[in-house]
Amino acid sequence: MSNDDGVRIKGGYLGKILHIDLSAGNSHVEEYDDDFALKYIGGRGFGAKIVMDNLKEGVKPLDPENVIVIAPGVLSGLYLPSSGKTSFVSISPLTGIYADSNMGGMFGVEIRQAGYDALVIRGRAKEFSYIWIDDDVVEIRDASKYKGKKSTETERELKEDLRDEEIKVATIGPAGENLVKFACVNSEWSRNAGRTGMGAIFGSKNIKAIAVRGTKDLPVYDMDKLVELSDNAYSTLHDHPMMKFWQEEGLMSVIDYANTLGIIPTRNFTDAHFEDADKINGEVMTSRHKIGDSACYSCPMACGNICLVKSGKYAGTVTEGPEYESAAMLGSNVGINDFSAVLRGNYLCDELGIDTITSGSMIATIIEGYERGLLTLEDVDGIALSWGDDSSIMQLLEKIANRDGIGDVLAGGPYGLIGKFPQLEPIISHVKGMDQSAYDARVGVTMALSYATSDIGAHHARAWPIAKELEVGADWTLEEKIDLVIYHQTVRPLFDMLGVCRLPWIELGFDENTYADFYTAATGVSVTLDDLLEKSRSLFNLTRAINIRMGVTRADDHPPERTFNDPIKTGPHAGEHMDRELFEHMLDIYYERRGWDKAGRPSKEQLRECGALGPLGL
């Protein structure tokens, strides 16, 4: 699919990127050429290239000069399973390096229907504003009446004020306004671009929300082919034996799975097995709390669970979720064994606009710090912290969003917390400033390598090889395990580039080759999965290049310290931890297989090929 052959795009892409300059208060539409689309595919690929080209010496993430790219993919909105994903790409305030975070729901589809493959937002609005995109009309409007409002409240009022229930809104909560470094962008009640602090970028640009109404047709080159492929895809998924269970429990089923495997974060990752997992698992959710299903655009899996707390002090709380990560980080990782409290925590995070994962991680760290005497009662605002004390944990969530007392320190993320309390460094689990997701890195070897080499920090979405390693890969050679990590890091970003969800592939074994067929039907450009994976590999080099420019070195490619130092206490993997020498050895092999040098730098040829050379080149 190299464009030397004169390949032309005949569908799928809209060919337009909307640039909004908040400082100047204007916008313009850029029409990009086919080469750009064929090289970067779309979504996260477009975002990374635009962020790369925008890099300037000395620009900090929260400076007006930083850009945020909101890019659904070329398949977003099309008739195929789970095509509702959109990527938010920028330089993260949490980590200071390349970052992206994806959101499900319908927001990205609406952007595409408004006629754009991506939004690029730069500058800073003079007044507190929101952006209103009504197909071709783009306005920057006063948002003073929404200041300080919670996410759902803002979305509801915007819909009422714009007199259209069908518009899509992405908004920040109070946390984003207060520049909490792990603030998220929220849409449709509980779809979040959760990680890496995209909400703080909104806040730094003085914008509260983006409201979109899109009405245009999405171009499809071969509609008959797309319908044929998708009809088959939907019926394959529909007939899958796990489908019914998946619609029932969704990602909450992972609680039992992770606990049985012994990889569930427990009390700030001091353990990987939670004795009360059966009190916060999928069964508790479905039997006592679930009142409805929720799905992203065109998705038959409907992993969203709408839950209600029926009794107790949190009675009346209605929230969508939690997903596994949220339930583990706001449950087992802070010692909470009451699912009502998990729901309350999830609700507060959504409404305040903070990431459930980082919030759970930060709070767990200070609870452990306080219990071990590393922090005094005064340090934690006089709140006697203890594992599972939900009242104080809810209080801390509010404090983080409002940057109140200890909350102001926590709002700085792992680096902010270490800056203020260096004694906590050994117990906070993070990579490059991004706290660890809810899978232990001491079991097996692949998860540690995944976290260490992920381009945004210790996030599970980049690669989740641990299940395969534990299930079938016990006897694999080290090289095979490392290749598994690289394969995940290659195939997973592809879903974000295409603007589709990866869960049909991960959870129901949906054939990833089909996505090449979808791409071909939509665009008229004939590709194979390998063609697309090559673009994805190239993207990984590009984001690596951005990170190297931002100062990342081999020393940053390491799993959290706890992975080496503190063996797991209980469960099937009690006593296990990662060996430092083994890890260095793996890192050497990993770099070599990536084609990078010993310091983890891509070759000149790779840099040229991925588009990282140029005026700002390395």
């Binding site: 909105g77 099309l78 008739y79 319908m106 229907q113 759902t152 229930e165 069908e166 449709e188 009640w189 899109g214 009405t215 245009k216 047709d217 999405l218 171009p219 499809v220 509609m223 797309l226 319908v227 939907y234 998924l237 529909h238 619609q247 009142i291 409805g292 299903d293 929720s294 799905a295 992203c296 655009y297 065109s298 998705c299 038959p300 899996m301 409907a302 969203g304 709408i306 209605v318 929230t319 969508e320």
Partner: protein, 203 residues
Amino acid sequence: MDKDRDQKQAPVSQTMALTVVPERCSGCRTCEIVCAIHNNKVNNPKKARIRVLSLYPQPVIKMPIVCKQCKEPKCMESCPTDAIYIENGIVKINNNECMGCHACVISCPFGAIYVHADLNEPIKCELCGGDPQCVKACPKNALIYVPQHTLGQANRLIDTLKYAHLNEMQYFEHGVEKKLSYAQIETGGLRKDKIGQEHADEQ
């Protein structure tokens, strides 16, 4: 007689109804996409004849809204050019007569007629000629296409079960009057206490 009967034989669409179970809807909008592709040949849910209205967080509801093919349609009554007519039980719009005033859109009590800027005529469901594509595509069975005479059966059943569960049935055991609630039967109360014993007696 035979001739009369033949005339009363209604076409399928006249005896079937497209109905929704909002409690099952996940809000995925697959129905919208397949509708637009099938009827308009475009990938654009904004041109669909069925739409899902999602409200949250309180009340939480995802409501697929689609024409109910009323027998005495308000839309037809309100149309100033008589462009709306009923054919084989399906309420249709004659685009040649329609002047695009949208009176029907406003008068529909369910808001089941839609408007799109690209199209002069309002958009409404015509049951895909008796084979609604949305019903086939719905991953949650929230859309159902059933004979009209069975409409309401689900509610009748639920109401009957509720009634029964609140009541007790009377029976006699060794000449002594006893009571048992239907709910107990369901939880196995009867089976454990009585049926097992009867079996023991038999042996």
